[in-house]
Symmetry: C2
Subunit: 409 residues, 2 copies
C-alpha cells in the first residue's frame, strides 16, 4: 500500500503506542488476567434483574446518568456505601461514591489528578502490573516498598520516605492493596494499617487504597479499610469485577469531596454505562452476600486444586505464597530460574501466565516469580496447565528436576 | 475543618480542575445536553433482549470482553459494520470497528493519540462544545473553519490551511460533523465532501469525522460518509446515544489499523461494558430500522412544536437554523443581544439552554446564538420553556419586543 497520512509516524504523538496485534483468541491454558469463573456468573438471576429494572425504569436511559447525579446510579451508590459500612469499616454517604467504568478508569482519573512527569510514586514492590505501567506512562518514577507476609514493611517504608525527603521529593501517593494484596495474597494487619496512616500524616503523602479483592477473603474477616480508619488522607477504590463479573465494568471511588469533586469534574465521559449499574444494583441488593459466599467457596476449591497440582508437579522447587483470598497465586521458582526464558514458549503452546517481572517495580527482583490466576480455568485445565508448565519450565531451565516424585529426563 | 492533605492544593497537579458542584437535580425546563426522549426508549423490548442474551450467554461475562477481541462484542461490531455499509456508504469489517464507552471516550482516545501541547487543530467554527474544551485541555490551539448552510466553506478552509502552512504548522486534524452538524443541523453535500478530502490529501491533514447524529436525518437520505469515500485518511466515530439512549454508553470508531490498533493499545480500561453491548446488539439486530424511523418521526414532531413556539414568542427577532435531523436547534437573536447576559438568570429560574459561545471556537462570534435541545422536554415543556425564554430574554435585553403579535411591556 502506498504511503498514507496514517502510515506516517509524524501523524501521531511521539508517545503513541504501536498498533496492537490482531486478536488471536484466548490461550487454551489461561492463567492470566482477572477473569472470573464463568460457571459462577449468576446469569439467570441477572436476566431476571435486567428484565425487572428495564420494565420499571428503562425510560430513564433516555437521560444521561438516568437524570441522576454525575457520580452514578443512586441505588448502586447507596449499596456501595452500605456494603462498605458493613464489610470494610467505612462510613460514607452515597454522594461520597463515584461509580466508574471499572476500577481501571478510577485509576486513570486518580493518576491524572495527582501524577505528572518527573513525579515519584510509592507502590508495593510486587503489585498489579497496570498500576506500574500507568504511572510510568505518565512519566513518573516508581519506588517499590518491600513486602513480607504481612504487607508493606513499615520500617522500610519509613526509610524510603526519609530518603526521598532528604532529596526534596514528596511522593504523590503510596499505592497499596492491603486486603488480598496483588500478587502475594497477603492481608495487612490492623497495626500496620495504623502505622501506614501515621507515616502518611508525618510525611504528608496521600494513600491510594485499592480493595478490588477485599470481598473475597477466605475467612470472611479483615481489618477495617484504611479509608475507614482515616478518611481525610485516603482515596479508596473497589470493583464488582472480582465479586461478580469482570465484563461488567463497574468500579467505584470513595474519597473526600476535595478529591471526589475533582474526579467528577475530570470524568468527561458523560457517565458510566447506566444499564449495567441498574442491573447490578438490583442484583447485589438482593443477593450480594449469598453470591459472594458461594463464589468464595468455589474459588477456594479451585485454589486447592492449583496448590495440589503445583506441589505434585514442582515439589520443593516451587515456593507458594498461600493467598488469603482472591483469584491468583504468587509462586517462586529457585533463584537461578528466569521465568521470562520460557514465557513466550509457553504462550506459543497455548499456556499463559504472568511473569513476575511484569508485576514488580524492579523486574529483576521478581525474575523467578510468576502469578497464576485460577478463577477461569476448570479444575481439569488447572491440572493440565500446571503439568504443562512444569514440562516447559524443565525444558528451558532444568527446573523442576522431579515431578510427582519421578525424575524428569 | 483542619488542613488535610487533600485541602492542600499542592497535592494535585497544577492543571487539576476545581471540585465539581454538588448535583442539584436537572433543570425543570431543560434544553441542554444530548438527552433523548424517555418515552421513545424501547424499555420493554430491551428487557426482552436483556433476558434473552443473559440467559443464553450471561456466563461469558466471567471473562473480560466476553473472551472476545479487545475491540468489543463480536455481534455488535458486526452490526455496526453492516449498518455503516447500508446507511453510510462505508465498507468495513467488524474487526475495523472499536466499541467505546460512548463517543466521548473515542474522542479522548483519538485526541490522546494525535494532539499535544502547542499543536493546532481545525474545528468547524460552531461545533460541539466538548470538542473544543477537550482540545484546549490538551494545550492545543483551536482554529475555526467558517460554515454556511452547506457545512464548511472550502474556500475559507483552503485559506486557513495555506496560512498555517506558511507558518510551518501542520494541523493535527480537521474535525467535522458533516451529517447533521452540531449545532447548525446542516448536511455537507457530496461535492464538498470530495473537496474536503482533496484538501486533506493536498495538505497531509487527517480528517476526524463525527457522525453521532447521522441516523436521525429527517429525509433518511444523506451522502456517503467521508470515511466511505476515502478510508485511508479519515477516522470515523459514531454512537447509539442519539439513535437509542444516551445512558447506554456505546460509541464506536472505524479507522485503518494504523489508527485503530493504536487506539486498542491505548484503551487500557479492560473493555467497555459488555452487558450493554450484548443487549444493544440483540436489540439493534432485531429492531434498528423500525426504531429509528419511529424515533425520527417523534423528534420531528417535537421540532415542529419548538419552531412554532419560537416563531410565536420571538417573531422576527429569532433567526432559526432549520436542522436536517437530530435533536437540537441553533438560533440567533439580533446582533446586539449577548445571550450570556441572561443564561445564569434563566438557570436560576429552572431554564437551561446552551449559550452560543460555548459552542463556538471564537466565543464572541456566537454571542447572540443559542442551542436548544428538544428531545427530552415534552411538547408542553417546550411551549412553556420558550415562553419563559422570551420573557427572561426581554427582561435582560429588550428582545423580543413583541411576542404572539403583542408588544411586551
Amino acid at each position: 500500500m502506498s504511503q498514507t497520512v496514517f502510515s506516517n509516524a509524524e501523524t501521531f504523538r511521539p508517545n503513541a503506542p504501536v498498533p496492537a496485534p490482531r486478536f488471536a483468541g484466548l490461550p487454551r491454558l489461561n492463567f492470566v488476567y482477572g477473569h472470573n469463573d464463568p460457571e459462577q456468573v449468576p446469569a439467570a438471576e441477572l436476566a431476571d434483574c435486567a428484565a425487572k429494572v428495564l420494565a420499571e425504569n428503562g425510560h430513564l436511559l433516555g437521560m444521561y446518568n438516568l437524570g441522576q447525579a454525575p457520580q452514578g446510579h443512586d441505588r448502586l451508590r447507596q449499596f456501595v456505601a452500605d456494603k462498605l459500612g458493613k464489610r470494610s469499616g467505612i462510613r460514607c454517604a452515597s454522594d461520597d461514591v463515584l461509580i466508574t467504568s471499572g476500577s481501571l478508569q478510577a485509576m486513570d482519573l486518580i493518576n491524572a489528578l495527582l501524577v505528572g512527569p518527573g513525579d515519584t510514586v510509592i507502590l508495593e514492590e510486587f503489585t498489579y502490573g497496570g498500576a506500574i505501567t500507568k504511572v510510568q506512562k505518565l512519566g513518573a518514577r516508581v519506588v517499590g516498598a518491600p513486602l513480607d507476609e504481612g504487607g508493606i514493611r513499615m520500617d522500610r517504608l519509613r526509610a524510603i520516605l526519609e530518603e526521598l525527603r532528604s532529596e526534596g521529593v514528596r511522593p504523590r501517593y503510596i499505592y497499596t492493596i492491603p486486603t488480598v494484596q496483588n500478587p502475594t495474597g497477603s492481608i495487612m494487619d490492623l497495626g500496620r494499617r495504623h502505622e501506614l496512616l501515621a507515616l502518611s500524616r508525618e510525611f504528608g503523602v496521600p494513600i491510594f487504597e485499592d480493595e478490588c479483592y477485599a470481598d473475597l477473603v477466605w475467612s470472611g474477616e479483615r481489618p477495617p479499610a484504611l479509608y475507614g480508619l482515616d478518611p481525610e488522607r485516603v482515596i479508596h477504590i473497589g470493583s464488582f469485577s472480582k465479586s461478580l463479573a469482570p465484563a461488567l465494568r463497574i468500579g467505584y471511588v470513595v474519597a473526600p469531596w476535595d478529591v471526589l469533586g475533582r474526579l467528577v469534574a475530570s470524568k468527561t465521559d458523560a457517565g458510566s454505562g447506566a444499564l449495567e449499574q441498574m442491573v447490578v444494583a438490583e442484583y447485589v441488593t438482593r443477593e450480594f452476600d449469598r453470591h459472594v459466599d458461594a463464589l468464595r467457596a468455589g474459588l477456594g476449591a479451585k485454589l486447592a486444586v492449583l496448590v495440589d497440582a503445583i506441589e505434585r508437579e514442582f515439589g520443593t522447587a516451587a515456593e507458594i505464597f498461600h493467598p488469603k483470598g482472591g483469584i491468583f497465586l504468587w509462586l517462586k521458582l529457585p533463584d537461578g530460574v528466569d521465568v521470562r526464558s520460557f514465557a513466550q514458549a509457553a504462550l506459543d503452546q497455548g499456556l499463559a501466565f504472568n511473569p513476575g517481572p511484569d508485576w514488580s517495580c524492579d523486574p529483576e527482583a521478581a525474575k523467578s516469580h510468576m502469578r497464576l490466576c485460577y478463577a477461569l480455568p476448570s479444575e481439569g485445565v488447572i491440572r493440565e496447565g500446571v503439568a504443562e508448565l512444569a514440562r516447559i519450565s524443565f525444558e528451558h531451565t532444568g527446573v523442576p528436576a522431579r515431578s510427582a516424585n519421578r525424575a524428569r529426563a
